[in-house]
């Protein structure tokens, strides 16, 4: 293997790395797409509860369902405004 081949194989990894990363993220995002229908309503209600106490933006509450094996994990992210 020559000097140039070394660089070639190095580069070969960038496209296949891109493919691997895309396959993982796309599969995960497609999973959410089929997620439970109540998620948007749940998100709105949680937003409403938070707004009783503090003024936040519409996109302050993010909700995701992650599947890990047999387990479903509900992930809730709330971004509070900076003061």
């Amino acid at each position: 293997m020559g000097f140039l081949d070394y660089f070639r194989s190095e580069k070969k990894r960038s496209a296949s790395l891109a493919k691997e990363r895309l396959q993982v993220i796309v599969a995960r995002e497609r999973g959410h797409r089929g997620g439970p229908d109540y998620l948007p309503a749940l998100q709105q209600e949680i937003l409403g509860v938070i707004r009783k106490y503090i003024e936040v933006d519409d996109d302050a509450v993010r909700i995701q369902v992650e599947r890990e094996g047999d387990c479903e994990v509900l992930e809730l992210n709330v971004t509070l405004p900076e003061d």
């Binding site: 070969k12 496209a15 296949s16 493919k19 990363r21 895309l22 796309v26 497609r30 797409r33």
Partner: protein, 268 residues
């Protein structure tokens, strides 16, 4: 009945407007009465790519608001018979496009055209949603680049759920992949996702591959849909896209490295 085709991508700057202009011009060249609509309210650009920016008097929003009729707003292309452009408004009011308004305009255009090409704005907001909502077919424009592929997948999700066809339980919007800015030499070096990789990740039918080409910038500089530059690689690739869309079998071109003198000399 006209067929409504949305040109969409999620990500900006991947070639939606270039593709819309070329595709619409190609359909008209094939003898189909075609109108191409700029849905990018606020950031009108299709007129510039089509070279009719100085002829815009009324726009899409004027028609929706009843301030002009369709015939006053449509701009007839001077090079290709049967090709018309409906320019976007430059208003900053994001709610200028309404569902009812868009539907009424599309219904009226459908009476007098064979194809309605909707040039979607970037993003997945209202304008993009409206551009795809009434579509029968979608051209999903994707660059061989991670963020573009991911955004295209998001858009495919929306096409499958947030369109009239999806909501009314009709056959789904038929989705076609158009890969743009493709550089076979970089794919060969493993620096760029291959068309096969993209097709596999998105799992949709490949309509065409447009090579990275100086012809695209040259054509846009001159306000000419690149498909009219029929000596150029990108122009020919778009002609293939249109022919395949219309049902012709054509082999994919521009997928292999163009070897120049140096390439041949140093071919490993």
């Amino acid at each position: 009945m006209a067929r409504i085709v949305v040109v969409t991508s999620g990500k900006g700057g991947v070639g939606k407007t270039t593709t819309s202009a070329a595709f619409a011009a190609g359909l008209a060249q094939a003898g189909h009465r075609t109108v191409v609509i700029d849905f990018d309210v606020g950031l009108r650009n299709l007129d510039l790519i089509m070279g009719c920016e100085r002829r815009v008097v009324y726009d899409f929003v004027n028609v929706i608001n009843g301030e002009a009729n369709l015939n006053q707003a449509l701009i007839r292309d001077k090079r290709v018979d049967g090709l018309e452009i409906l320019p976007a408004s430059q208003t900053r009011d994001k709610d200028a496009l309404t569902f009812e308004g868009v539907e009424a305009v599309l219904t009226q255009l459908a009476e007098t055209h064979d194809y309605i090409v909707c040039d979607s704005p970037a993003g997945i907001e209202r304008g993009a949603h409206l551009a795809m909502y009434f579509a029968d077919d979608a051209l999903v424009v994707t660059n061989p680049e991670v963020s573009s592929v991911r955004d295209s997948d998001r858009v495919l999700g929306l096409l499958a759920s947030k369109t009239r066809r999806a909501e009314q339980g009709e056959p789904p919007v038929s989705e076609h992949l158009v890969v743009t800015r493709y550089a076979p030499s970089r794919v060969g070096k493993g620096e760029m996702l291959s068309v096969e990789d993209i097709r596999e990740i998105l799992s949709i039918d490949l309509l065409g591959v447009i090579p990275e080409s100086t012809a695209v910038l040259n054509a846009s500089n001159a306000g000419v849909p690149v498909i009219l530059e029929d000596k150029t690689d990108a122009g020919q690739a778009y002609a293939d896209v249109v022919a395949r869309y219309l049902g012709e079998q054509r082999e994919h071109r521009f997928l292999d490295e163009k070897k120049g003198l140096f390439g041949r000399l140093f071919k490993g």
